[in-house]
Amino acid sequence: MSVSAFVTASSVDDAVAALAGGARPVAGGTDLVVGARSGKSTLPESIVAIHRIAELRGLAESADGLRLGPLTSHEEICASDVVRSRYAALADAAAIVGSHATRAQGTVGGNLMNASPAMETGGPLICFGGEVTLRSAAGERTVALDDFFTGPGGTVAEAGELLTAVHLPAPAARTGSAYLRLEYRRQMEIAVVGATAVVTVADGRVTHARVAMTALAPTIRRVPEAEAALVGSDGGAGAIEAAGAAVAAAATPISDVRGSAGYRRAMAAVIARRAIESALSRARGEAS
């Protein structure tokens, strides 16, 4: 199949109209076109390029949090002072996507819609309580990222829906966060196993915790048992150990060329502990 129609949308309305007519969107091309080049898939017959739509660009901080336009690149995320200081786990994740070419072209919206269980930014966006806005010709709806992924490559978004915004609420004071992955090389890599932790500490106690696992289940998802092990604790070694064990227990990894299920499960505990330790030390204002 070859591409028989290509339009460049200049507004969200244009793009949504094209999607209603059966076109598929392309922004940075780092999944769609790469997938076609590597033979994993073919290019869609009808494509709408959304990369010129100004209203889908940029990061904006407000009193109630941070709005990321879906065209925000990984490079822009890592360069943002707001992300680095208040949403550090997201900066951790964006900084290790692909190479600098991938980060310059690849977008957060594309990363979410591609829905890889191993993608880097998903865990942080879920743990910060992120929501996305989906717009179609029929209207607009908001979906919590907790409920967004349905399986490898699958989301609740329907064919005519365009992701038009990602919203993260403002984190509480004394919140720290971290994302890290098990990797075989430092760049041009995807997570063998990944973990995100977002924790809030007050008076020596953990008052809020979000923990998510990456490349350990059909979708990136939170591990409530790990969060329960942390909340109310002193954030000491015992609680961290229990949270790591909870992640390993919740993991349902696959075996593939990058690692066996058993190896992934064993490493899940280690990577989760390290992410939690890093998030706690950031929450306490220690060097990280």
Binding site: F6, S38, S99
Partner: protein
């Protein structure tokens, strides 16, 4: 069916006719006729095809040419000033950063992008920055030395 488009490569506007699914690399090499950029893996892994799109790096094998309409495309042919090589190109030659030459166009573009965003990188930052560009000859040392030798000088 081919569509008419204009691609601006190294400051020159080229009117072209392209299939909608044509990649930027195929358009620049086969239609515009600038063959400095190479096709290595054709899968966005090796960086041999790397170009700049409005100053930012792109693996051109995996980018649709029609998306580049309206952007400034820079290839290795655009780095030199006539017969005068860019300092980075000279450094590659002097430091042994070139052997077979296949990765060199992408390496030069990648290093140009790196230095544009981080003018005085550490060796570790250079190695990280160039990690999307594979070289099978040099062992990377000459390339890293070349980039470091011009770092901080602009």
């Amino acid at each position: 069916m081919k569509v008419a488009a204009t691609l601006t490569v190294n400051g020159v506007a080229y009117p072209v006719e392209l299939d909608q699914g044509t990649t930027l690399l195929a358009a620049v090499r086969d239609v515009v006729g600038l063959t400095g950029s190479k096709e290595g893996c054709d899968d966005s892994e090796c960086g041999a095809c790397m170009m700049l799109l409005d100053g930012r790096p792109v693996n051109a094998c995996s980018y649709l040419a029609l998306q580049a309409e309206g952007s400034e495309i820079t290839t290795v042919e655009g780095l030199a000033d006539g017969e005068t090589l860019a300092p980075l190109q000279t450094a590659f030659l002097e430091q042994g950063g070139v052997q077979c030459g296949f990765c060199t166009p992408g390496m030069l573009i990648s290093a140009t992008a790196l230095l544009a965003s981080n003018p005085d990188p550490t060796e570790d930052e250079v190695r990280i920055g160039l990690s999307g560009n594979l070289c099978r000859c040099t062992g990377y040392d000459g390339i890293v030395k070349a980039v470091l030798s011009v770092a901080g000088s602009s």
